[in-house]
Symmetry: C2
Subunit: 225 residues, 2 copies
């Protein structure tokens, strides 16, 4: 079985997070063998320092929850993050531009951002209709991203709507077949992760990585016993 723990981008985007808490997040990521650590822009330098002797990805969240900053502000934020040591940019698509079918504008913005570093584009699937999810995923692939990602923590989908999220993941995977798919927001258990992975997710974004990794360790222990 594919090890779920390795697919996790361990996430701490609490606006109140302290330096000590970010360091703890990095330590957890190293201990459990997660994929990377995902933080707000102000913590990128610290995370890059903490993870420098490892293969873990330094990941930064840009422009939540709907990608509404100007193109210049977004580019500046991305450049700063790369300069601070980010390996991957998790950038929200401009969701209003998408809804008003300004596809050229969406594509130009994302193409330039994708030229800076490996980029995952967050489409905010919970804000979108099915047609918008498909179109957004196509645009993300066309822009040259490495991955299309569901949502930030401001996603409207509730915990009890994980099947709806799984449906979105599947649509995204089908609409952007060349890309990785990252499922994120309100994914809290090993079972949640598996539902996403079964529907095409390659990466899981969650702040519950420790609990999920412990669940998986427990399960392996039981299987071996």
């Amino acid at each position: 079985m594919k090890k779920v723990t390795k697919t996790i981008d361990h996430t701490n985007i609490d606006p109140e997070a302290t330096e000590a808490e970010i360091i703890k997040t990095c330590d957890e990521a190293k201990n459990y063998g997660f994929r990377g650590v995902d933080v707000n822009p102000e913590w990128v330098s610290l995370v890059a320092e903490e993870l420098k002797e490892t293969k873990l990805k330094v990941i930064v969240l840009i422009d939540p929850p709907m990608g509404l900053s100007s193109h210049k502000e977004r580019m500046d934020a991305c450049k700063r993050a790369v300069g601070d040591g980010a390996d991957e940019l998790d950038v929200v698509m401009n969701i209003i531009d998408l809804k008003y079918e300004k596809y050229d504008s969406v594509l130009e913005d994302l193409s330039e951002i994708c030229s800076l570093a490996d980029t995952k584009v967050i489409i905010g699937s919970g804000f979108l209709t099915d047609e918008e999810i498909k179109k957004a995923s196509e645009l993300v692939q066309e822009a040259g991203a490495i991955c299309v990602k569901t949502a930030t923590n401001k996603d409207p989908l509730e915990r009890r709507q994980l099947e709806e999220k799984a449906r979105h993941v599947k649509m995204m995977d089908q609409s952007a077949p060349d890309l990785l798919v990252k499922a994120s927001a309100k994914i809290r258990t090993l079972e949640d992760c598996r539902m996403m992975i079964e529907n095409g997710a390659d990466i899981i974004g969650t702040s519950s990585g420790v609990e999920i990794a412990e669940e998986e360790l427990e399960e392996q222990k039981n299987e071996e016993a």
Copy 2:
């Protein structure tokens, strides 16, 4: 049985609509006895003229899809619409401010708007979590609106998710007990309307008013036969 047709705000917010089409919308509203006519700001004067000898409401949609214009821009648009003859303002709440829990800002903005004319506030329920729907509805009531309304046509909920919309309507009705509730976006049939009304909706926003009114007439004819 409550007559569904009378609850309908007959809606034409097609950005490509012509003067002839807006007049047709007004004629339909008069012929079928809808509640009012809902249009974009540029058509308010025309609709006010067309409906002047009637009790039908002249309704204007302000700041879709997420209420992100500045407070001043929103106030200016509302004042202009009232000056042009609007009876009711259907105004979108600033959804980003709501998501970032800037409740004072949301409340101040809406309170000032509500002082200008009868206001329905569109909370964009498909963009919101359950907690956000409840909080938004409370704020709308506190601001002094007459009605809390679900969504614009950029709502992410699909046709097949009408039960989810009905659930939103119910939550809104419970969270803003003093207000009317208007259900809108992707409501196309008499059955759709009834599902909303059963869950607490008082007004239906739809561009399918003619089809719904015809359905209801047909039904009455069959009952009488």
